[in-house]
């Protein structure tokens, strides 16, 4: 079908801007033996931003060598965590649902670079890396995935329900689309409290068709809420390609009267620039939509091979041409901020850090049986509650 082949080829756009980068003299610095952490750099995004009802920001992103190296480390850590989770799932230590984020790391990392922990993020179930970006630890992630006490939700939530309220991360939601009105609620509360902070409500191309999104967007626009709608368009809602689910897959335009920006979600600097722009906009003018053009290497979840509705060529093609970590590696090398060997060393250290965290998580015990009955309420009034056999297992709600 003509539609699908043109769609597929669009996903594998060569990084023409990047190959041009290495020959662009004015962006190369002379080699220096000691690189200052805060050496200022300007990086050009892979492609220009496309705006809807707004003037898009510049392609030139201010950064520092420290940030660039930080991006590499953080994304490599996220990548390694997700790959390790794949193995844990296959060895049945992780049960139920497990939705992996590898390929989409640039969105999590670029966003964090543009905001503070007082800004809020809320997302759906592909939340492990967002949690890590918000300051969560590997041990908390792996423990939660394996249902242990040391988990971020004490083992009671699972893969889809990671939260870190003290860093403005509100989950971790299993119902597609529900997180978006919730995110607008967070933005409402931020405005009500005069906090001068914003909320990033993240959702996928599948969720983008949900009615409640439009209901929330309407209210956010009416009330000028500091809400930023972030569509992580990885082009597939489970097994359904975007062109089969959406009459108009221009998600950044879906807001109609609400401005939008289309962003290369595989380029951490483009993401950073877009989020910075969006935060400024939202604080002054209310909601804005960011469409992150991204890609997930894994299937929808661990029970989906991910290759029945897309070709292996497409997956490997994106990995070859647009991988977010490779992009940063090339930038680091071309700016001579590090060497191949050093970067490989960082990756090796990350591997062992992840292995250690898994070992530590495995040491954590499962929740005590009494935890079955805790946290049902904040204030349980000491009411009696029962297990499956009411005459056998009883508890009291604290």
């Amino acid at each position: 079908m003509a539609l699908s082949t043109s769609f597929r080829s669009n996903l594998i756009k060569p990084l023409t801007a990047l190959t041009a980068l290495s020959s662009t003299q004015h962006l190369r610095r002379p080699f220096s033996s000691s690189v200052d952490d805060s050496t200022a750099l300007t990086i050009e995004t892979s492609v220009p931003f496309v705006g809807h009802k707004c003037e898009p920001p510049s392609r030139n992103v201010e950064t520092t060598s420290k940030e660039l190296l930080g991006f590499f480390h953080d994304m490599a850590l996220m990548r390694r965590m997700e790959i390790a989770s794949d193995s844990l799932y296959k060895s049945k230590l992780i049960r139920g649902f497990c939705h992996l984020y590898d390929g989409q790391e640039a969105v999590a990392v670029g966003m964090e670079a543009a905001i503070t922990k007082k800004d809020c993020i809320i997302t759906a179930y592909r939340d492990h890396c967002i949690y890590l970006g918000r300051g969560g630890t590997l041990v908390e992630c792996f423990s939660e995935l394996m249902g242990r006490q040391a988990g971020c939700s004490k083992g009671k939530g699972g893969s889809m329900h990671f939260y870190k309220k003290d860093s403005g991360f509100y989950g971790g939601h299993g119902i597609v689309g529900a997180q978006v009105p919730l995110g607008c609620g967070l933005a409402f509360a931020q405005k009500y409290s005069k906090d001068e902070t914003v909320t990033f409500a993240m959702y996928g191309d599948g969720a983008a068709n949900q009615g409640q999104l439009f209901e929330a967007l309407n209210m956010a626009a009416l009330l000028d809420l500091p809400a930023i709608f972030v569509c992580e368009n990885n082009h597939y809602g489970m097994g359904t390609a975007e062109w089969r689910a959406a009459k108009s897959p221009s998600y950044y335009k879906r807001g109609d009267y609400v401005p939008g920006l289309k962003v290369d979600g595989m380029d951490a600097f483009a993401v950073k620039q877009a989020c910075r722009f969006a935060k400024e906009h939202a604080l002054k003018n209310g909601p804005i939509i960011l469409e992150m053009d991204t890609y997930r290497y894994h299937g929808h979840s661990m029970s989906d091979p991910g290759s029945t509705y897309r070709t292996r060529d497409e997956i490997s093609g994106v990995r070859q041409e647009r991988d977010p970590i490779e992009r940063i590696r090339k930038l680091i090398l071309s700016h001579e901020l590090s060497t191949e060997a050093e970067l490989k060393n960082i990756e090796k250290k990350i591997r062992s850090e992840v292995d250690d965290a898994i070992a530590q998580a495995k040491e954590s015990s499962m929740p005590d049986p009494s935890e079955l009955f805790t946290n049902v309420y904040v204030k349980g009034f000491g009411i009696e509650v029962a297990g499956a056999d009411r005459k056998e297992v009883r508890g009291v709600l604290p």
Binding site: S153, I175, P181, C184, A187, G211, Q212, N375, V378
Partner: protein, 334 residues
């Protein structure tokens, strides 16, 4: 004081006491409330705290829950609880379960309130009682006031409560007036959540009811008294948690039970109460538990059919007499 004014005063006092409390819903602001429950509040607290929403329950309920996540204390009004079905995912999955799934990190101090159950002549889509559905959900608290004192005390308690509360009012009770004690008029007045009230003490049969049905049960008690049957009327006030200790203590005293509710019978509140009593007080029952509920049909419009679809005083009287083995249909064996 009528129930409407009782609710209005409760909202007013709680909004005055805590700047985090705000009201949102359709027509709550400029229209003064679809049933005038929020009259005067927009003028007093301004549009930032009294929000008129578009007719988008899923969206605005999600926004309310999100605001509660952040730490505000929203009161979300559903014009009737029939419309809450559009938002039920947010009530159950976003609100009720969050504290548990997050192991206590994300608490949801929100109140969902509005008229519940049958009104008069509004037909099938506008007459359902949601007590049983919400009452079955762990993580929710479900309250249903009868009198003005109930309305004041329970709504104030609900707004102060740190958990999601479903507050089931009744449109037909809004205009009804009840005596209110001086204590109940005080701004610090609160009723405990999870405690039923014995509206009328009795010795022969326990009748449980909530909301409008309490009024009918009390009238039934008057009729039963003339026949020498002393009925103990329990106003549940709280559907979840259900005050099973009070109910059981009463049944252990009277040995007979009639449950009354307006909603559909299958999987209803009465079914739960019956089981709770069988579990704890089986040996004390001298007669099978009787259940009076709405008819097992969508609510009809025609006045005569509507009357048949909702419990009447005579139904409660008849059931109580059956429980006392004084039914006229049975041969006198006593």
């Amino acid at each position: 004081m009528n129930v409407r004014d009782a609710l209005n005063s409760a909202l007013d006092e709680e909004m005055s006491a805590d700047p985090k409390v705000f009201l949102m819903g359709e027509e709550v602001g400029e229209y003064q409330g679809a049933y005038k429950v929020s009259k005067g509040l927009l003028e007093k607290y301004g549009p930032e705290r009294v929000l008129d929403t578009p007719i988008t329950e899923a969206g605005f309920t999600g926004i309310g829950v999100g605001a509660a996540y952040y730490g505000l204390k929203p009161v979300v009004e559903f014009m009737t609880f029939n419309f809450s079905m559009q938002a039920i995912d947010h009530i159950i999955n976003s609100a009720a379960k969050s504290n548990y799934m997050s192991a206590g990190q994300i608490s949801v101090p929100i109140v969902f309130r509005g008229p519940n159950g049958a009104a008069a002549g509004v037909g099938a889509q506008h007459s359902q009682c949601y007590a049983a559905w919400y009452g079955s959900c762990p993580g929710l608290k479900v309250l249903s006031p009868y009198s003005s004192e109930d309305a004041r005390g329970l709504l104030k308690a609900a707004i102060r409560d740190p958990d999601p509360v479903i507050f089931l009012e009744n449109e037909l009770l809004y205009g009804e007036s009840f005596p209110v004690s001086a204590e109940a008029l005080d701004s610090s007045f609160c009723l405990p959540i999870g405690k039923a009230k014995i509206e009328r003490e009795g010795r022969d049969v326990t009748i449980t009811a909530f909301s409008k049905m309490v009024g009918l049960a009390l009238k039934a008690a008057d009729i039963l008294a003339k026949d020498g049957i002393s009925a103990e009327i329990i106003n549940l006030r709280s559907i979840r948690p259900l005050d099973t200790p009070t109910i059981n203590a009463s049944v252990r005293k009277t040995n007979r039970l009639v449950t009354v509710e307006e909603g559909f019978p299958q999987h209803g509140v009465g079914a739960e109460i019956c089981m709770a009593v069988v579990e704890e007080s089986f040996g004390y029952l001298d007669a099978p538990v009787e259940r009076i509920a709405g008819a097992d049909v969508p609510m009809p419009y025609a006045a005569n059919l509507e009357r048949m679809a909702v419990p009447q005083i005579e139904d409660i009287v008849r059931a109580a007499k059956r429980a006392c083995y004084r039914s006229t249909a049975m041969a006198a064996t006593a």
